[in-house]
Symmetry: C2
Subunit: 223 residues, 2 copies
């Protein structure tokens, strides 16, 4: 069995992997997302949202690599919503969430999720501890998934009730397609799991670049 480290505190990402038969070890890192994003945009001023989530996913995976076991794979993810060319993270509070949901109702938002997969420490990396504090060299592969999410119309009473539950305050785009927000999403064009925060087919394609199948990550007993 291949061991996977999930470099994310998101319960939705963990649940997505578990439903697909994978029990990762969660390793939450403390990445200064604003600094990573500023550096990425500075290096590439026209960096699109897919490039931005990819840069953040990479930073999270690399931060986790500092304390991850050498034989494990490490997955970093980051998600952003895009509306009218504007990139949207988590809402700042209930008022912001209501304003944004009202704006999204009856329209389409694109949900971008970046994935960065680091392989095991390379055989030529030298002995552990040869460069204390630094992550040892690993091969990295990345890909972004972008899914169009089409929202239904919502009444003010529905928006108020939904925001009062607190769910939309915790997520990029201010909606939960896998929770109380599900009935308000008419449909998607693309991968549903990418909207939740981790695109399973994208993870499958990244694993294939390492010569692995997703079933190699299944929990014991499934195979």
């Amino acid at each position: 069995m291949v061991r996977l480290i999930l470099a994310s505190a998101s319960p939705a990402r963990l649940a997505t992997l578990q439903a697909a038969g994978i029990d990762p070890t969660v390793l939450v890192t403390n990445v200064d997302e604003a600094a990573v994003l500023a550096a990425a945009v500075n290096a590439a001023p026209r960096l699109d949202p897919a490039g931005q989530v990819l840069a953040l996913a990479r930073a999270k995976a690399q931060a986790a690599a500092r304390s991850a076991p050498s034989e494990a794979f490490i997955l970093g993810c980051d998600s952003m919503a895009e509306l009218d060319g504007e990139v949207l993270g988590k809402p700042s509070g209930p008022a912001d969430a209501k304003r944004r949901i009202r704006r999204q109702a009856g329209r389409a938002v694109v949900l971008h999720t970046g994935h960065w997969l680091l392989g095991p420490v390379r055989p030529d990396a030298g002995p552990p501890g040869s460069n204390p504090g630094a992550a040892r060299p690993r091969r990295g592969e990345g890909a972004a998934s972008s899914t169009v999410v089409r929202f239904g119309q919502m009444s003010d009473a529905e928006i108020d009730a939904y925001v009062a539950t607190g769910e939309p305050l915790r997520v990029a785009g201010a909606f939960t397609i896998d929770g109380l927000g599900g009935p308000f999403v008419e449909g998607v064009d693309g991968d549903h799991h990418g909207v939740v925060g981790l695109s399973l087919p994208t993870l499958r394609h990244l694993l294939a670049r390492f010569g692995l199948s997703l079933v190699d990550l299944w929990r014991p007993g499934l195979l």
Copy 2:
């Protein structure tokens, strides 16, 4: 709070409602699906798959109505997969599942789910027991959701491993988008929850015909 009866034994349908904040009472009925389908196709020889799942959803809801509380709403659902114009239910066994998954790999399947929502017993229905054994009159509203599901390529080893888990044997179309099959679905065009077996936006639209919002069905504490 509006009380909902789910006339289905499907754990995936129950989980879909629960994730959206609704705790229905499950009331499993014993509908002769082949007989219902034969009667529906006899009445309308060119009945398309959406019409077929709608007829079955209606039969399930009406069967549950015989023993459901008079004030409750009742939801019946039925799902079928369509490939090359052929309608596909659950596979007959592991060999059939492997054959079908091999056929679906790299292609698109349409998943049709029919929904039939019965309202409370009508005020003009007369006293209970006036017609023993028969369901008392309720208003019924129905709608089908159809979602295109695009599969990735799968190796024979992956197909064998997936079928060996038993998951694809239990579902129409021989795949589980919300389970171990998720990574093999590249994306959908339409409602993901309809593929799982219960389209939440469709339920929302049916409730609206009764003047209700989906939040009226939320479990106590959410509102």
